[in-house]
């Protein structure tokens, strides 16, 4: 056996001269810095949307994405081809590009690069057209197999093409005609040498001048000329094709010569910091392939939340110690690369070496100098960032997991990782390179021998210039006249606008077009709907206008701000024009731990940043207690049987017994669940209703006897009347519902349930921290109905009409089911109202399902609303469905303001709608400030997570769902041993249009300016451009956009909106994202649905809008 001294301490470099604690400190600092870069996703069971690049929020958005692109190897924006397609279909227009580039360049736009091309022209051409790049080998292929070097680009603008061809022709004719040279006379004799000499003579003259011109180098051009003359005869006989060939070839040769002449150096990529990268490039062998599988297995066993039957031995000793104990045993795995590992681990264990000491040792053995620790440790941790991030999350947010891990586990993980890397690196280096020196020298040796991944060759660089020249119309004639400095400018100019920058510009244009659509839609709606200054009661006096009171609404409904609820609100307003809807963060101000009947845990239902102080439990009513107890027993027994069967099916003999005796019966659920999902869902629903009592109450109020659980953590059982009044008052004031109450007010929370979907919780209510918002709605309704609460509110100036009843409800955004709570508590006088409202709500749900179905390719476009509802019901219960719903995939905008400003607009489920009435706010805008404070993190979190997961589905997102494998009950892996995959799966984001959140607040700019001054977090998001901010004037259609220099007034582009009778007329038969439209007068939808199957008939043909 070979000696293992490459890894052990015997070859350590001289003991470090610095005192050890200084080294420890800087080690801790390095780890600290690296930790921020790890993904911050917690256990997948409760999915909380957050900005994927939260750690980089101190940078501006564009800097951050570019920096992260280098750091993580991910994409900053979508690809140029993708934007190109959007350009082709009109989603991006030329005027967007023009405007964005002008804004980006500001004064530098008009500087000339090469006459007459300005920098603006150059950049515009570069973003509008694809610019292929290719390594030299591929260039040869291009030359041999394509027309790239014989014909001008087919997509080159006509003007550029004419200019290039014309200039070249003049140039050649000028050279060849008698006054300049006696070219034509000599052609007959075929004296190639002399013709070349005529050009070289010319260039010899040039060389006398101080600056060299390209022409002197282009011998190739004259040769080319000569060859073509042989082929096609004298110039006057040349065909168009011959001219074009010459033009293109000459241009290519001049570009090659020019780039060489410019002598610009390319910046070299920085040297690799990890040994593994160097070794991989040199030998093709990946040490991570040795280290990671082992580390992944151990990590999973360490953080396991109780999946595996046998827990990790010595887990309580911590990651490092447990690893040393487990793998320090004798008689271990025979892998060649791990020889000596167990002895080394025993040494660490028996010598009580701490993880930090071990880390320092490893860094010395690997020969990493202290100045490189930061980058080395960051790169090492990022190599397996999913698991490292999860260990860290469990460390700092142990409360969010069933089983936490001790502090310092990440450091332990790093120590173990480096020990393993030492062995793997030494093994590979020894075997593949016969490297027998100490490991600390490996990097130095490798770096000396390492050739950086080929810097682009001059030809490759010239190819880009060649492409650009064809697009902007630079001919060989013109380029050959440039001096070296001019060439340097030219190349710098082109290379200074690399693909990353082009994509940034395209992305900005992409966002701009959408922004303008939104602004124009809001403006048009203002003019069309009669929400004009004339009809708007003056501010301050509005809410108490008697006129308003008289036209009391049929009913009112308060929804979550979620953009998925936009459609159901719109449909509800179409079905029942007398309804008024509101949007407010879906926990309705009721921050609580909630435990339903039959639930084991109490779950927090409020935004993640809050920690609830109240516990609310659901109880079965007194009369049903006995039945309930019996049901629970049955349920428990069934649970035991199911669990027992499942566990024993994984055992040996017991499993055999089960398989022989009962196995065949498993075929029944197998076949029915897969082949008949809808039927199964019905059966399950009925069975579920039987198993759980439906007659329950919330134990909402705090009583002296029950408030015993507040031991030390300030957790109270229920709320006091004061607290309830506070919650109700705050919500009603937030949304501006302080008068004009209708007889029934619905509070509708939402959530989602789907099967076979590890990311199920990501579809739930974000404001409930990835939980269902139903209980919050129910609790709020109970509070608001309480006469004591109302009495107290009256003293605070909020008079809820005695005629008004609040009803809680729950909307399942996956199967579009709606459940009303506590219907038995409804007063008899209001039964009729509730029934009528319920009909409208059910109809709205059905239409909502219908609208959602247009996005699902497996749902036929000609579904009826009833069939659509059945379709979504089946989807939610279908084991094979990877897209139960599309979640937030359509989010893009957030409007904070009165519903009147958006009502009647078809917003395509793209807008978070937050109700806020500027008229009821006080002078310092406290209400607006607190709304923004609560809403912004939720909306930007969702928006940015979708942005990144869509832009790089496998880097920031977790790729396709199909191979996902739930591990340790914490997250998903691809296959049996991959890094933990964080972010959103492709199936959730595939239809997403990645744009940054556009937040529009109905408030005068100066008010918002004041709020920004007071709210640092919000200001930072806006200043660093992680979101876009605009204001909508409460009295007019003025829109102002927040820029670096304050608010700037928006000039409308085309404030014209297509008008349709009903939503369905606008979305019918279309699957893609739609533009905005106005839903016309009171919609006669029944008629439309009747004629629905007749595809030919369209009520309005309004497809001219988008393009």
């Amino acid at each position: 056996m070979e000696s293992t001294n490459y890894q052990s301490l015997s070859t350590l470099p001289q003991p470090s001269e610095k005192p050890i604690d200084v080294r420890e400190k800087s080690l801790h600092r390095a780890v600290e810095n690296a930790v921020h870069l790890l993904p911050a996703q917690g256990p997948i069971g409760v999915f909380v949307h957050h900005n994927t690049l939260h750690a980089l929020e101190h940078l501006s958005f564009h800097d951050a994405v570019q920096y992260a692109a280098r750091l993580y190897g991910c994409e900053p924006y979508l690809t140029k081809e993708w934007y190109g397609d959007e350009y082709a279909r009109g989603r991006i227009r030329k005027r967007d590009l023009v405007s964005v580039i002008q804004e980006d360049l500001a004064d530098a736009a008009d500087e000339t690069v090469v006459l007459p091309t300005t920098r603006f022209d150059l950049r515009l051409a570069m973003v509008c057209f694809p610019i292929p790049t290719a390594p030299s080998v591929e260039l040869r292929w291009f030359a041999a197999n394509t027309d790239a070097f014989r014909r001008l680009r087919a997509d080159a603008p006509d003007e550029a093409r004419r200019r290039i061809l014309g200039n070249t022709r003049q140039w050649v004719e000028a050279i060849c005609t008698p006054p300049t040279s006696s070219f034509t006379e000599r052609t007959g004799s075929g004296q190639r040498a002399s013709s070349r000499s005529s050009l070289t003579r010319k260039s010899a003259k040039c060389e006398k001048r101080p600056e060299r011109r390209v022409l002197s180098n282009v011998k190739a051009v004259s040769e080319l000329l000569e060859r073509l003359r042989k082929e096609y005869g004298t110039l006057d006989r040349w065909t168009g094709t011959a001219w074009e060939t010459f033009t293109v070839r000459a241009l290519w040769e001049v570009c090659r010569a020019g780039v060489r002449l410019s002598k610009l150096k390319e910046t070299r990529p920085p040297a690799r910091v990890r040994h593994r990268d160097l070794l991989l490039e040199a030998t093709g062998e990946d040490s991570d392939m040795l280290v990671h599988p082992l580390l992944i297995r151990f990590c999973a066993a360490f953080v396991d939340q109780g999946f595996s039957y046998r827990p990790l031995p010595d887990r309580e000793l911590g990651f490092f110690r447990a690893f040393c104990r487990l793998y320090g045993q004798k008689g271990g795995p025979p892998d060649a690369w791990r020889r000596g590992l167990s002895a080394e681990l025993r040494r660490l264990d028996e010598g009580h070496v701490t993880p930090v000491q071990s880390l320092l040792e490893s860094l010395d053995v690997l020969g990493v100098p202290q100045v490189e620790w930061d980058s080395f440790i960051a790169a090492t941790l990022l190599a397996m960032r999913g698991w490292a991030g999860m260990v860290h999350q469990l460390e700092i947010r142990g409360d969010r997991a069933a089983i936490a891990v001790p502090q310092g586990s990440l450091l332990d993980l790093l120590a173990v990782q480096l020990i393993l890397e030492r062995f793997a690196l030494a093994y590979i280096a020894r075997r593949s390179l016969d490297f027998r020196e100490p490991l600390s020298r490996l990097r130095r040796v490798m770096r000396a021998a390492w050739t950086p991944p080929a810097v682009r060759t001059p030809d490759e660089r010239a190819f880009t210039v060649f492409q650009v020249a064809q697009l902007v119309g630079w001919s060989a004639a013109k380029l050959s006249q440039l001096t070296r400095d001019e060439w340097a400018t030219l190349v710098r100019e082109i290379e200074g606008f690399p693909e990353g920058e082009q994509r940034r510009i395209l992305h900005l244009a992409y966002e701009r077009r959408f922004r303008i659509q939104v602004f124009d839609a809001l403006m048009a709606n203002y003019h069309d709907t009669g929400v004009s200054p004339a009809t708007l009661p003056s501010l301050r006096s509005m809410s108490s206008t008697p006129q308003r009171q008289r036209t009391a609404r049929r009913f009112q409904a308060i929804f979550c701000i979620d953009e998925r609820e936009e459609s159901i609100r719109r449909h509800l307003e179409e079905v029942e024009p007398g309804v008024e809807t509101f949007g407010v963060a879906g926990f309705f101000g009721v921050a609580m731990y909630y435990r339903g009947v039959g639930d084991l845990h109490a779950v927090p239902l409020c935004p993640v940043v809050m920690k609830p102080q109240h516990l609310v439990e659901e109880e079965v009513i007194e009369a049903e207690r006995e039945v309930h107890r019996w049901r629970m027993e049955v349920r428990r027994a069934l649970g035991h049987v199911t669990h027992g069967l499942h566990v024993s099916s994984r055992m040996g003999l017991l499993g055999a017994l089960v398989a022989v005796a009962l196995g065949v019966f498993a075929a029944l659920p197998l076949v029915t669940r897969v082949l008949f999902p809808w039927l199964t869902s019905r059966v399950r629903r009925v069975a579920g209703r039987f198993m759980l009592s439906q007659h329950t109450r919330l134990r909402l109020e705090r009583s002296f006897y029950t408030d015993a659980c507040g031991d030390d953590n300030l957790l109270h059982h229920g709320f006091t009347v004061d607290e309830m009044a506070g919650i109700v008052e705050r919500l009603l004031r937030d949304i501006g519902l302080t008068g004009r109450f209708s007889r029934v007010v619905f509070i509708i929370g939402h959530g989602s349930s789907s099967l076979n979907n590890p990311h199920e919780s990501a579809h739930d209510c974000g404001a409930c921290g990835g939980g269902h918002g139903g209980p919050n709605a129910r609790a709020f309704a109970l509070m608001a109905n309480d006469p004591r609460v109302r009495a107290q509110l009256k003293t605070r100036g909020l008079d809820i009409s005695a005629e008004t009843i609040f009803v809680g409800a729950y909307h399942n955004s996956c199967d579009d089911a709606l459940e009303l709570f506590d219907q038995d508590l409804v007063w008899d006088t209001h039964m009729e109202d509730i029934l009528a409202a319920r009909r409208a709500l059910t109809e709205a749900c059905q239409r909502n399902a219908h609208e959602r179905c247009r996005r699902f390719e497996t749902a036929p476009l000609d579904l009826s609303p009833e069939a659509a509802q059945r379709h979504v019901e089946a989807r939610a219960e279908d084991l094979a469905q990877t897209r139960p719903e599309y979640g937030h995939a359509t989010n893009a905008v957030c409007v904070v303001g009165r519903r009147e400003r958006t009502r009647g607009l078809f917003l395509d489920r793209r807008v978070f709608l937050v109700s806020y009435d500027p008229a009821t706010d006080d002078a310092t805008s406290t209400v607006l400030a607190r709304i923004l404070q609560a809403v912004t993190p939720v909306c930007t979190g969702i928006n940015l997570e979708y942005y990144f997961s869509r832009v790089d589905p496998t880097g920031y997102g977790c790729g396709t769902k199909l191979p996902h494998n739930i591990t340790a009950l914490l997250g998903v892996m691809d296959g049996h041993a991959s890094d933990l995959r964080t972010g959103l799966p492709w199936q959730m984001v595939e239809i997403h249009e990645p744009v940054r959140l556009l937040m529009i607040v109905e408030s005068p700019p100066h008010v918002l300016h004041g709020i920004l001054q007071r709210n640092d977090a919000l200001r930072r998001l806006c200043d660093h451009q992680w979101m876009q901010l605009a204001t909508l004037s409460p009295q007019s259609d003025d829109i102002s956009v927040y820029t670096r220099n304050g608010f700037a007034r928006y000039e409308p582009e085309s404030p014209q909106l297509p008008v349709v009778m009903a939503s369905i007329d606008w979305y019918r038969n279309r699957r893609e994202h739609l533009g905005f439209a106005r839903i016309g007068c009171k919609a006669n939808i029944d008629r439309i649905f009747q004629t629905h199957h007749n595809r030919e008939e369209r009520v309005f043909n309004t497809f001219t809008y988008n393009v």
Partner: protein, 456 residues
């Protein structure tokens, strides 16, 4: 000429074959059909096939025909060699085929929705059809050559489906690993076929295993011959079923999409080894050595899988090892001669496991429901003092389980490396001789780096 029953028999095997040919040809001609067209094709083919199969089952049952053969002619006849294509429908083949059809229909319907919009949609269904053809042919084979053909198709489609996501390195790497294990074990089957021909002059099961209805039957082979052939069959079965020492490929197979994991490694593919041993029952029973070896290997596998499965932390690996445990026990039953028990066990286990695999992504949801129903946490055993201190033996066993029995490492170290060394040695000798004979130095081809073949 064919009578009606023969046509029905033909349709049972022909329906998946037709589907495979159509999908495969479309892909070859670069005319990828739409998702809808493929769905229709799958439904039609499986519909026709299953109707034919049910008819056949009724016919056989009502006519109490224990055994039907469908001869598709002598394809090649030489003095000492006779290549006959023959399908055999008997009490072993019919239940297996019924099961295979049920699973293929279920998993096919599942995949039609699950794979929606995936770039490899067409590729998946080509592999899926190829797999189905392979299973049908293996199950119905009436001669050893036909069985081998089906066996190979199953292996090929499995390996290709494991590396379905070929844009990442791990699936390709693991697919290759599985492919090489299959190669090794298939070689054993091929050698067995050749030996059978050599010793009895035919590959026809009618002769080799007797004409009595399954599970009765006698082989004309001598004890020694039966021992050798039986052991070769056992090696072939061990490779396909992931028995010790080949078990290492099983978790690697989880790289593919969920439906393929379900149908291949939870259900049909992993049981094919057991099926082979059932089919070759008379040979296994003929020699006590073989029977003992089968039993022993089965037992080893069951113990290994049980031990390993308990330490797994991800759902798919846990299910894979649970599968393997049962396969081990089924193999033990075969060794004991309990063939009916083994068959019933196999069918029951396939149903249970497929359902569990298809539900694997619901793990969190199901667990949550279960905890609510039980009113306790399922991970309570973690906090109990019983596990607080671990004995050294337990810790050693735990590492063994976490490292999956060191089987892959051992194979690499004790089989792959020595073999590679032999080949490298041969390569050096060859070079030496050619250099010596030609009298000039040759350029040395780059050595294949060992890690490209073996693994970690």
């Amino acid at each position: 000429m064919f009578d009606l029953t023969d046509w029905i028999c033909l349709l049972v095997a022909g329906a998946p074959t037709g589907l495979f040919l159509w999908l495969g040809l479309c892909s070859l001609l670069d005319r990828v059909p739409s998702e809808r067209a493929m769905a229709t094709a799958v439904r039609v083919a499986l519909g026709c096939g299953s109707v034919a199969l049910l008819t056949l089952a009724v016919v056989m049952w009502s006519g109490s025909m224990p055994r039907l053969t469908l001869a598709l002619g002598h394809w090649l006849s030489l003095p000492h060699y006779d290549f006959t294509v023959k399908l055999l429908f008997d009490w072993l083949a019919m239940p297996f085929i019924l099961l295979a059809y049920m699973l293929c229909i279920t998993v096919g319907a599942f995949a039609l929705r699950y794979m929606h919009r995936e770039p490899g949609y067409n590729r998946f269904f080509v592999m899926y059809a190829m797999f189905m053809v392979g299973v049908m042919i293996t199950a119905l084979a009436g001669t050893i050559e036909v069985l081998f053909a089906g066996w190979e198709l199953v292996g090929l489609s499995s390996a290709l489906l494991v590396s379905f996501f070929h844009e990442r390195a791990a699936p390709v790497y693991n697919g290759l690993r599985i492919w090489s294990v299959y190669r090794a074990s298939d070689a054993a089957l091929l050698v067995a076929a050749v030996l059978l021909h050599h010793w009895s002059g035919t590959g026809d099961f009618d002769v080799l295993l007797g004409r009595q209805p399954w599970p009765h039957g006698h082989t004309p082979l001598t004890d020694v011959h039966a021992t050798i052939v039986g052991l070769l069959f056992l090696v072939a079965a061990a490779g396909k079923s992931g028995l010790v020492p080949f078990s290492g490929w099983l978790p690697r197979a989880m790289e593919g999409p969920t439906p393929s994991s379900a149908v291949f490694y939870g259900a049909l593919s992993i049981h094919l080894g057991a099926f082979l041993l059932l089919r070759a029952g008379p040979i296994v029973q003929r020699s006590p050595w073989v029977a003992a070896a089968v039993m022993l290997l089965g037992l080893l596998t069951a113990v290994h899988a049980m031990l390993t499965g308990r330490a797994q932390t991800d759902i798919k690996s846990a299910l894979a090892y649970a599968s393997l445990t049962q396969v081990g026990i089924i193999v033990v039953e075969i060794g004991l001669g309990l063939r009916w028990v083994a068959l019933v066990h196999l069918i029951g286990h396939v149903c249970v496991r497929t359902l569990q695999f298809l539900r694997a992504p619901s793990l969190l949801h199901d667990r949550h429901q279960l905890e609510n129903a039980l009113g306790t946490h399922l991970h309570d055993h973690l906090d109990s003092p019983r596990h607080a201190r671990v004995s050294p033996v337990n810790a050693w066993l735990y590492r063994l389980a976490l490292e999956r029995g060191y089987l892959d490492a051992c194979l690499t170290l004790y089989v792959v490396e020595p073999l590679l060394n032999v080949f490298r040695c041969c390569d050096r000798l060859e070079r030496y001789w050619t250099t010596f004979l030609s009298g000039r130095r040759q350029h040395r081809a780059r050595d294949i780096a060992p890690t490209e073949i073996d693994t970690v």
